[in-house]
C-alpha cells in the first residue's frame, strides 16, 4: 500500500489517497463479469500450483483479482430475462435450473399483437386499418381478448432450450461459486469512480493502470465532510470493464479515447417490469414466454415470463425512438398489464416487486474500442446486445468467457496485457464467434423504426428473415434529437396540455398528468397489483442510498434546464427521483434513484459540446430487491 498525492484538476488542495496493487481489477458484476470470473477461476482451480496464476504484486500468492460492484448486494440486479443460454450452458454443462431460484427451462413461446382496447394509443393510419381488419374478422383470425396470436415465432426470436431467469438470483448463484474458491474477491456497495490513465504512456496517455474508487464521507456535491475517506486507487495490470452501458468507467474511456468511426450509443430503451405472484387458479405454466407488441403504444414491446412458484415477470420496453417527450414508463406499464389478454391471467395477482433499467439498443453500432493497453471491455457496455433477437445476457456471458480464455492464454505464455496482445486473443476470439456474426446480422435490423412503426416492423422482419442481408436504411439521430416536441393540433389537446401543467403545479407527478391529459383512463388502484408509483417503490425491495456519497445525477448547466420545455428527464424517471424544482430546474433526490440511467438519454438539451446536460456519475446503492 502507498499514498498517492494527486493534484486536483480544479486546483483544490491535493488529497492523499491510499493505493493498493492487484493483478486484475474488475468493474461491475453482471453476467459478462460472471462469465469472465467463472472461466478464470476454473482454470486456476484445475491446478492452483500453476505458476501462470502466481501474483505479480503479492509474492507467493495466487493472482489478486478484485471486482467492485456499485449495488449494495450482487443479488440486486434488475431484470427478469429469457435467454437462449447457450453460452451459459456451455460453461455449466450439467446446469440444473432448479438450483437457481426463479429459473426454469423455456416451455412455450408465443408472440401476440395487442390491439388497443382503450382507444387512446397513438396508432398510424395503416395500423388502425389493420386493427379494423383484425376486429372484423376476429373469429376467423382467432383474435381473442383484443390480441392476435401470430401463427409462428420467427426463428431469430426463438429461445427454445433456453431459460427464464431472474438476473439478480443468477448473479448471486454465480458469485457464490466464484467466491468459494478464494481466488476472486467481489465487493458490493463499492462504486468505481473512474479509470486511472497512465500519465506517460506511449500512446498518448491511453493506457489504463487501474481504477479509482469513489470518495466517501462527502456531501451531495462531493465536498469532504466529517468522516471523509478518499477513494482508494487500485492499481492493476489489467482492468476489466463490465459496468454496463452507462457505467462511469466505460463512459470515461469513451470520452478519453473516443469511439470507433461511425459508432455511437444513440438508441436506448427503458425496460420496466413487475414481478407478480399469479393467482392460485392460474393456468400459465412455468416456462411460458410471451412477446408482445402493439400496445400501449405500437412502438412499445412487452413480455411475460413465468418463473417457478407462480411468479411472473411482466414488463415493457419504451424506446428512445418513441418520439414523444412524455415517455413515462410506469403508467404505461400499468395500462399494459390491464390489457385483456394479460389481465385475464394477472387479475387477482399480487405485485411482489418492481424494477427498471436502461438498455443500450445500439447493438454493434454502439461498440466501443474493445481493448486498449491495460484494459478490455465486455458485456452490454461493449455493444454485445443483439437487438434483432432481443438477447443480451447470453451474449454478455459469452464475451466474458472469451476474455477469460484470452487472459488465461496470455498468462500462460507470459505476455502482458497490451492492446496488441488483448486484440490478438480476446478481440480475435470475439470476432470469430457467434456473438459477432449475430451482431452483424442485427446491426441495421431496427433502422426502420426511425421512419415509423410499420416500416420498423417491416425492416426487422426483412433483416430477420434474410440474416441481415436486407434491411432498411436510416440515419440515426442522437438520442436527444429523438425526443420530439409533439405538435398541438387542436383546442382540445391544448386544454389537455394546460390541464397537465396545472396538475404539475399542484404537485401531481408529471407523467400522470400528461397521460391523463392525453385521454388515458385513470388507474383504479386496488392496493394489491395496481398501486401508485411511490407505493411500488416500497414493495418487495427498497432504494438503497448509503449516506456519505455525492449525487451521481448532475445537471451541468441549470440555465439549459430552465429553458427546457420538455422536462423529459422528469417524466421518464423510473423512481420519481427527479422532480420539478423552483425556476424549472429539476431536483434530484439520491434516496429515490434506482440507477436505471434513463435520465442520461432523456435530456433534450445538449450543451455546446453536444453532450447531454445530465451527467450520470458513479454512485452507490440503487434498487435492492431479491426477486428482480
Amino acid at each position: 500500500m502507498s499514498m498517492n498525492e494527486n493534484l486536483e484538476e480544479n486546483g483544490a488542495p491535493a488529497i492523499e489517497r491510499q493505493a493498493m496493487e492487484a493483478d486484475i481489477a474488475c468493474v461491475g458484476f453482471g453476467p459478462a463479469m460472471g462469465g469472465f470470473l467463472t472461466t478464470l477461476n476454473r482454470a486456476w482451480m484445475a491446478n492452483p500450483a500453476d505458476s501462470a496464476f502466481e501474483s505479480k504484486v503479492a509474492s507467493g500468492m495466487p493472482l489478486q483479482v478484485l471486482c467492485y460492484e456499485r449495488a449494495d448486494d450482487i443479488a440486486a440486479g434488475v431484470s427478469g430475462v429469457v435467454t437462449a443460454a447457450r453460452s451459459i450452458r456451455a460453461s455449466f454443462p450439467d446446469l440444473n435450473p432448479a438450483d437457481i431460484p426463479m429459473a426454469a427451462p423455456v416451455k412455450s413461446e408465443r408472440i401476440l399483437y395487442l390491439l388497443d382496447p382503450v382507444g387512446v394509443s397513438r396508432r398510424p393510419w395503416l395500423v388502425r386499418m389493420g386493427d379494423r381488419v383484425l376486429r372484423r374478422f376476429s373469429a376467423m383470425l382467432g383474435v381473442r381478448d383484443d390480441a392476435f396470436l401470430l401463427p409462428w415465432t420467427p426463428q431469430f426470436l426463438h429461445k427454445g432450450g433456453g431459460l427464464v431467469m431472474s438476473i439478480g438470483q443468477f448473479n448471486q448463484w454465480v458469485a457464490a461459486q466464484i467466491m468459494a474458491s478464494g481466488l476472486v474477491q467481489i465487493w458490493p456497495a463499492m462504486p468505481v469512480n473512474e479509470p486511472l490513465f497512465a500519465e506517460n504512456a506511449e500512446r498518448n496517455g491511453e493506457k489504463i493502470v487501474g481504477v479509482r474508487l469513489t470518495d466517501q464521507g462527502v456531501d451531495k456535491h462531493g465536498a469532504p465532510e466529517a468522516g471523509f475517506v478518499a477513494g482508494m486507487d487500485v492499481c492493476a495490470s489489467l482492468t476489466v470493464v463490465g459496468d454496463g452501458p452507462f457505467g462511469p468507467v466505460g463512459q470515461a474511456i469513451d470520452r478519453h479515447v473516443g469511439m470507433p468511426s461511425g459508432h455511437d450509443k444513440r438508441e436506448w430503451a427503458m425496460g420496466m417490469k413487475f414481478v407478480i405472484e399469479l393467482p392460485e387458479s392460474t393456468t400459465l405454466e412455468t416456462g411460458t414466454v410471451w412477446h408482445t407488441f402493439g400496445y400501449p403504444e405500437p412502438e412499445i414491446f412487452g413480455f411475460l415470463y413465468v418463473h417457478p412458484e407462480r411468479l411472473a415477470s411482466v414488463g415493457i420496453f419504451v424506446p428512445s425512438w418513441l418520439g414523444d417527450p412524455a415517455r413515462t414508463v410506469y403508467r404505461y406499464l400499468q395500462h399494459y398489464i390491464q390489457h385483456p389478454a394479460l389481465w385475464r391471467h394477472l387479475k387477482d395477482g399480487t405485485l411482489r416487486s418492481w424494477g427498471a433499467k436502461s438498455l443500450d439498443e445500439s447493438g454493434q453500432r454502439g461498440e466501443p474500442f474493445l481493448v486498449g493497453d491495460g484494459y478490455a471491455r465486455i458485456g452490454e457496455g461493449s455493444g454485445s446486445t443483439n437487438m434483432l433477437a432481443g438477447s443480451g445476457v447470453d451474449e454478455a456471458w459469452a464475451t466474458g468467457v472469451q476474455l477469460g480464455e484470452a487472459v488465461i492464454e496470455l498468462l500462460r505464455t507470459s505476455r502482458s496485457f497490451t492492446q496488441e496482445n488483448l486484440a490478438a486473443t480476446y478481440e480475435a476470439r470475439r470476432r470469430a464467434s457467434w456473438v459477432e456474426r449475430n451482431a452483424r446480422d442485427a446491426k441495421n435490423a431496427r433502422n426502420g423504426f426511425h421512419h415509423g412503426f410499420v416500416s420498423g416492423i417491416v425492416g426487422m422482419g426483412l433483416a430477420g428473415v434474410t440474416g441481415g442481408r436486407l434491411s432498411l436504411a436510416a440515419t440515426i439521430p442522437p438520442a436527444h434529437k429523438q425526443i420530439e416536441q409533439r405538435k398541438i393540433r387542436s383546442i382540445k389537446e391544448l386544454k389537455g396540455r394546460e390541464a397537465a401543467m396545472l396538475a404539475m403545479e399542484d404537485g401531481r407527478p408529471l407523467h400522470d398528468a400528461l397521460m391523463s391529459a392525453r385521454g388515458w383512463p385513470e388507474i383504479d388502484f386496488d392496493g394489491k397489483l395496481l398501486v401508485s408509483h411511490q407505493d411500488a417503490l416500497l414493495m418487495g425491495g427498497k432504494v438503497q442510498a448509503m449516506p456519505g456519497f455525492a449525487d451521481h445525477v448532475v445537471f451541468r448547466d441549470a440555465g439549459l434546464c430552465i429553458h427546457c420545455d420538455n422536462k423529459t428527464c422528469i417524466s421518464m424517471c423510473s423512481g420519481q427521483a427527479l422532480t420539478l424544482g423552483s425556476e424549472g430546474i429539476p431536483v434530484f433526490e439520491r434516496e429515490k434513484c434506482v440507477h436505471c440511467g434513463g435520465c442520461l438519454w432523456n435530456c433534450a438539451r445538449p450543451g455546446a459540446d453536444g453532450k447531454t446536460n445530465i451527467e450520470f456519475r458513479a454512485g452507490a446503492g440503487g434498487f435492492h430487491s431479491a426477486e428482480n
Binding site: 478484485l66 448486494d73 467466491m179 468459494a180 465487493w187 475517506v229 411482489r352 456519505g548
Partner: protein, 270 residues
Amino acid sequence: MPNQFQIVVCAGIVPDPLQTLEPVTGPKGPGLKNEMMLPVVLDPWAASALYEAASLVAKNPGSKVWLVSLGPKAKLQQVMMTIAQKASFELVAIDAPVGGFADAHATAAALADAIAAIPGLETAKLLLFGGWESAARGAGVTMQMIGERLGITDQFMGVDQIEMRGDGSFEVLERVEGGKHQVSVCAGAPAVLGWATGNLPEPRNNPQIGMANMRTVMPALQKARPATLADNGLQYVSASLPSQQRQTRVVKDMAPDAIAQELIEWIGAE
C-alpha cells in the same frame, strides 16, 4: 497503558428486512417464504456490537476481534462480502441451517462450543459482545446463556456505551425504562455485553480492510464446522407478522373532517 482485550462478537445473520418477508409454515415449522432466496444481512443489533468492538480495538492496540457466526455457509459468505470491508476481524464460522426460529438453548450451546475452541483465547481478556436483541425473532436470552456456558457471570444487556479505564475496569451504560441509562462499573474482563444500538455510525467501506479480511474469511468458511441444532422439543403454535399492507384508496370531494373520522374508526378497528 492501554488494555489488551480479546473481543468475541457473536453475530447472527437475518433476512434483509427490506425484502418482502412472508411467514409460512413448512414441515419443519415456521419460516419465511423463499427464505433461501432472500439476501441476508448481519443482524443490525449484532452489527452495532461489531462496530463497537472495532472501535475498542482501535483505541487499545494489541487487542483483537473474532466474529463468531452461525448460519448456512453460502449465506455467511454473502454477508462477509459487505461486512468484511467495515472492520477487521477473524471469522469463526459454524455451518448450520439456522433461521429465526431456532432454539436459543441449542444456538447458545453451538456458539459457546465454538468460542471455547478458539486457539489462544484467554478468558481473563475476554469481552463477549453480541446483540441485545435480534431482528429475526429476538428471544433475548442467547447471549446470557453463552456467558453462562463459558462461566462469565458479569453480564450487561441493552448496552449503549462502555468507557474503559486505565486499570482494566470499565463503566457501562445500560438502557432502562424511561429513556434513562443504568450506570455500572465492572472490574474488568471477562464480561458479556449485549449491545443495543451503541453510539457509533456504520463504518465506511474500506477496500484495504476488506482485502486483508478476505484472506482469512474464505479459509474460515471452507473449514466451517457443520452443526445440527436440536429443537429440544420446542414447538411453535403459530407465527405471524404485523399487518403492513397498504390499503390505498383514492377519494375525491370528501371533507377533511369526514376523512379524519374514517381514519379514527380505522385505527380503532385495527
